[in-house]
């Protein structure tokens, strides 16, 4: 039931929301998280961000995360779109949508989906700086803690 997409093209958030709720009049609310490229990191100005991923495994991991959300909450729809390749500050990297008859389900599922997407799907960010340097982004312990509050991913 979930919509899973990995794409190099810019995201059209409005179009994905419209597609999720089109002809689904039983939906009472849609929770959403939109991740965007910031323009600074550790005090250095970022000029570009490049997202690498593991084709094949990425889609499997995203589908497994969405399936978990659909098991844990009463969802009427779920969309995960992740951009890959080069992008600019202000552009959207990731879009998570969770639709439900009830807003608490929609909002909790949204938080879960982005927490797990950040820690359990094979994407890697590289930042390019205005000073000419570039660096792979380190994983954040805060992200691991946020993901861990939802428990462990069951064995496939």
């Amino acid at each position: 039931m979930a919509t899973i997409r990995v794409q190099a093209a810019p995201l059209d958030v409005g179009a994905d929301i419209a597609a999720l709720i089109a002809d689904r009049h039983d939906i009472g609310g849609v929770g959403s998280f939109i991740g965007t490229v910031r323009n600074t990191a550790h005090g250095r100005r970022i000029t570009a961000m490049t997202l690498e991923h593991y084709p094949g495994m990425t889609e499997r991991a995203m589908a497994a995360i969405a399936a978990q959300a659909e098991q844990r909450w009463r969802l009427l729809g779920c969309t995960l779109v992740h951009r890959v390749g080069p992008m600019l500050p202000g552009e959207t990297i990731v879009l998570v949508l969770a639709a439900s008859a009830h807003r608490q389900d929609a909002l909790e599922a949204t938080a879960f989906l982005i927490d797990w997407l950040k820690t359990r799907a094979p994407f890697w960010k590289k930042e390019s700086f205005a000073d000419g340097g570039e660096a792979w982004v380190d994983a954040r312990e805060a992200d691991d803690l946020a993901a861990a509050r939802w428990g462990a991913l069951p064995a496939p």
Binding site: G35, L51, E52, H53, Y54, G56, M57, R60, H82, I93, V94, I114, L117, K118, T119, R120, A121, P122, F123, W124, K125, K126, W136, V137, D138, A139, R140, D143, P156
Partner: protein, 87 residues
Amino acid sequence: MAATLHLLYFAWLRERIGTGEEHVAMPAGVDTVAGLLAWLRGRGAGYEAAFGTAAPVRCAINQEFATHDAAVAAGDEVAFFPPVTGG
């Protein structure tokens, strides 16, 4: 062909090794991820730079996350990468 491993490297591991993908004959005596990592470290400076540091290296076997004590067998697709940073 069945007695080979399909190896994949991502992010800074790929950059240090100099390739993102290779097929290798199943190394004798290797039957876990940890064993495979030890064998890879001996393959040259790029591999040593990728695998010989304290930086954490994650693994997937046949596109599922795996721990370093997981079993590796001929025919497997084994990927190495840093902790993920998407989203």
